[in-house]
């Protein structure tokens, strides 16, 4: 049997890597894992640094606008206040974790979607529906034993999110309706649904404002610090579970295959439509868990206008974490820190809290335009982005699935 060994075709220009090609498989694997990890981390890190820098320019420039004399240390004061507020004390650290908890879960809800080639902009709506379901069941079971009340309320929240994630998933699977548009629309619908229930059928009796019954015994217990509730552990647990699911379980392999190449997935005997619906349901469940954690762990009830930005922060978290569960954990902690320290920043520097959003947007901007980051930090690493995003946008203009 003659292989093509002696047959060079098109005189291939020998690529540089070819020289160090033949290594022991394990060694190569470890080395490439390290290199991949570095490649994964370096750009997000650069993006965060650049965003903080540009953020400080915004802070300085805005002083010009209002014509006060420019205090060049103001950005430093602001950032320092934010960091020390989030990390400078035990309570600050706990608050950072509390803030990060929904971000981890919702970030996973977006990140797992990315892995399946889905852009789940609907984490916001799924979060709300999870919150609504948890608030309802929690309120109903407020006098039951804590264990029963908590587990059922959490399960309800997860289920509420699951259903609300399943809808756009099933729509995409069955009709090809693109999830970016349907989830945006469903986010608005979720506001209407929760507002209807909270100001109507689920409104707590005697409550002077529109809110649901307090969840009573269904409250998540505080384990440490002022408010370090047990929900933090849901989030921490979800990270390895989702990691395991994606990288060690059959289902994860299928999800990733659908994300990377839906046609190959079909060829391989997987069922892309079912997987899309299933993955969206899973995403919804994660976001729903985030919602139940907030209600059962922090607020105790759902109010009719329930102000939150978790679903959109989750997009930042997932992109910054490159859809990797561990990356999502760290991104969520970063954002959680910024949110936990935002109060301190407003107190000490008088900087409007919206600067956090500005920095968030800038982080995303520099992640997207990573070429800027590479130029500035002289990074030569190959592009290690989210290949699955190609599937997301490709399908936007495609005829039905």
């Amino acid at each position: 049997m003659t292989g093509p060994a002696g047959e060079p075709t098109n005189q291939p220009v020998p690529p540089a890597e070819e020289a160090e090609a033949v290594e022991a498989a394990d060694g190569a694997r470890a080395a490439s894992a390290l290199r991949r990890a570095w490649a994964l981390v370096v750009v997000p890190l650069g993006a965060v640094i650049l965003a903080m820098l540009v953020g400080s320019i915004v802070i300085l420039a805005s002083q010009v606008f209002i014509g006060v004399e420019i205090d060049p240390t103001l950005p430093l004061v602001a950032y320092w206040a934010m960091i020390s507020g989030g990390l400078g004390s035990f309570n600050g650290i706990v608050e950072t974790m509390v803030q990060a908890t929904p971000l981890v879960l919702a970030g996973l809800a977006v990140g797992v979607g990315f892995k399946a080639g889905l852009f789940n902009i609907g984490a916001q709506g799924q979060f709300l529906m999870g919150a609504l379901a948890a608030a309802y069941v929690g309120g109903q079971l407020r006098d039951q034993p804590a264990l029963v009340a908590v587990s059922l309320a959490v399960a309800a929240g997860a289920f509420g999110g699951l259903v609300y994630g399943f809808i756009p998933g099933a729509l995409k699977a069955l009709t090809g309706a693109h999830e970016v548009v349907t989830t945006i629309m469903l986010n608005f619908v979720a506001i209407s649904i929760s507002s209807y229930f909270v100001s109507g059928p689920l409104r707590a009796p005697r409550s002077p404002f529109a809110q649901t019954l307090d969840v009573g015994n269904a409250e998540l217990i505080v384990l440490f610090g002022r408010n370090g509730h047990v929900g933090i552990f849901f989030a921490l647990l979800a990270v390895p579970i989702i990691w395991w699911l994606l990288w060690r379980a059959k289902l994860g392999f299928e999800i990733r295959t659908v994300g990377a190449n839906p046609d190959a997935a079909r060829f391989a005997g997987m069922r892309p439509r079912r997987l899309i619906a299933l993955t969206m349901a899973l995403c919804g469940m994660l976001a729903g868990l985030a919602g139940s954690g907030e209600i059962l762990g922090r607020v105790g009830h759902l109010t009719a206008p329930y102000a939150t930005n978790v679903g959109f922060d989750a997009i930042t978290v997932a992109l910054l974490g490159r859809a990797n569960p561990v990356g999502i954990l760290f991104s969520a902690l970063l954002l959680g820190m910024m949110k936990a320290g935002a109060g301190q920043m407003q107190i000490q520097a008088g900087i409007p809290v919206e600067i956090v959003d500005v920095i968030q947007g800038l982080i995303l901007l520099f992640l997207a335009a990573e070429i800027i980051v590479r130029r500035l930090f002289r990074i030569r690493e190959a592009r290690v982005g989210l290949e699955e995003l190609a599937t997301v946008t490709r399908s936007y203009g495609e005829r039905s699935a």
Partner: protein, 365 residues
């Protein structure tokens, strides 16, 4: 709880609370005053803004500095109050009924810090904890939380006065009121008072009421939406006087009134002055003197006279009122003006009930 006439001032607190430092301190103390807003912005031409202004004035009056934290998420109330506690602030002002529980909790835990809650009358249990189920509201705030002044406003009173005013100038006998969202109690109180006031002039007057949205953004922060809403409201209901209780959405409501050549009634502050672009049809405004109330509460802390409990702001302490008429003065007959004055005096004397016949609290009945 949330409304009605405020509880009469109770006698001095029993609890010994060495709240304020001895006035004998040689160095003048610089008071640190923290303000936690409700979800929204500092310049919402509403609660947040006027309370913030009051806090700043109060700070100036007693020699201190005011700082604000703007709340961005419903879950963050506790956290933001706590931020000021951690930073050892002397006075913490929280704005909006939604912060009542968070403030009460913090007040109980931090007896050395003075709290001022705008629009807050928490339902306290006998132990001084907020009762989230609103069943056991037996706790007396004044004794249980002597470091917590809950400022409540009798919005129904200025609403009532506005109702009389509107009823006096309507020719069609159909007037209207547009509220931001139906589940915000102060908004409802304004409007219920308005209805009662109008009917006190002429029970046959039709008062059309509508609330803009359940989405807070659209309810209080969307002038364009408010304008569309009000334009249709005016067209379909044929009102010729329109009272807005919808924040910045309401500014669009006033704009629609001006466009439709009918009269508008402003809210909270003298809108003839604060929103000059609609001054040409703003005949008067139903004012609640939020800013002054907050300022006075801070000053009470400053001079050591602060007592906990619910502090009503109403006609009795000139905490509410109706703005000047400016160029519309001539439209209000002396009879009308007299009726308005009489109602105001009636509130003071306790002889006029702005919450009758329409109950002031629940919009859903």
């Amino acid at each position: 709880t949330g409304g009605g006439t405020p509880a009469p001032a109770t006698p001095a607190p029993v609890t010994p609370a060495p709240v304020t430092p001895a006035p004998a301190t040689p160095e003048p103390k610089v008071w640190k005053i923290g303000v936690v807003t409700d979800v929204g912005t500092l310049d919402d031409k509403n609660f947040n803004q006027f309370s913030w202004e009051g806090a700043q004035k109060g700070a100036a009056a007693i020699g201190g500095e005011a700082t604000a934290i703007v709340t961005v998420a419903s879950a963050d109330y506790d956290k933001n109050v706590q931020s000021f506690v951690d930073q050892k602030f002397d006075i913490i002002v929280t704005i909006g009924f939604a912060l009542a529980d968070a403030t009460a909790k913090a007040a109980k835990l931090n007896p050395t810090v003075q709290f001022i809650g705008v629009d807050q009358a928490p339902c306290l249990t006998g132990a001084g904890d907020p009762d989230p189920t609103f069943t056991d509201c037996s706790g007396d705030m004044a004794t249980l939380l002597p470091n917590f002044q809950g400022l409540v406003f009798a919005e129904q009173e200025p609403g009532y006065l506005a109702g009389i005013a509107a009823a006096s100038i309507t020719t069609k006998k159909v007037i209207g009121a547009i509220g931001g969202a139906a589940f915000i109690p102060p908004v409802v109180r304004y409007i219920k008072g308005y209805i009662n006031g109008a009917h006190s002039v002429d029970p046959t007057i039709q008062v059309k009421v509508a609330y803009v949205s359940d989405d807070l953004g659209k309810a209080f922060n969307d002038p364009a939406g408010g304008k569309a809403f009000a334009t249709q409201f005016i067209q379909q209901n044929g009102v010729d006087v329109l009272f807005q209780v919808a924040g910045k959405t309401g500014n669009g409501v006033l704009a629609a009134a001006c466009d439709a050549n009918i009269y508008g009634v402003g809210v909270d502050v003298d809108q003839h002055e604060s929103t000059p672009e609609t001054a040409k049809c703003t005949v008067t405004s139903a004012e609640k003197k939020l800013s002054i109330a907050v300022e006075q509460a801070i000053m009470r802390v400053g001079d050591g006279s602060a007592k906990g409990g619910i502090i009503g702001n109403d006609a009795k302490n000139d905490g509410i009122g109706l703005s000047k008429y400016y160029e519309f003065e001539s439209m209000f007959s002396s009879d009308a003006q007299a009726k308005i004055q009489a109602a105001f005096d009636g509130f003071k004397a306790g002889t006029t009930d702005p919450c009758a016949p329409a109950n002031c609290t629940d919009p859903f009945e």
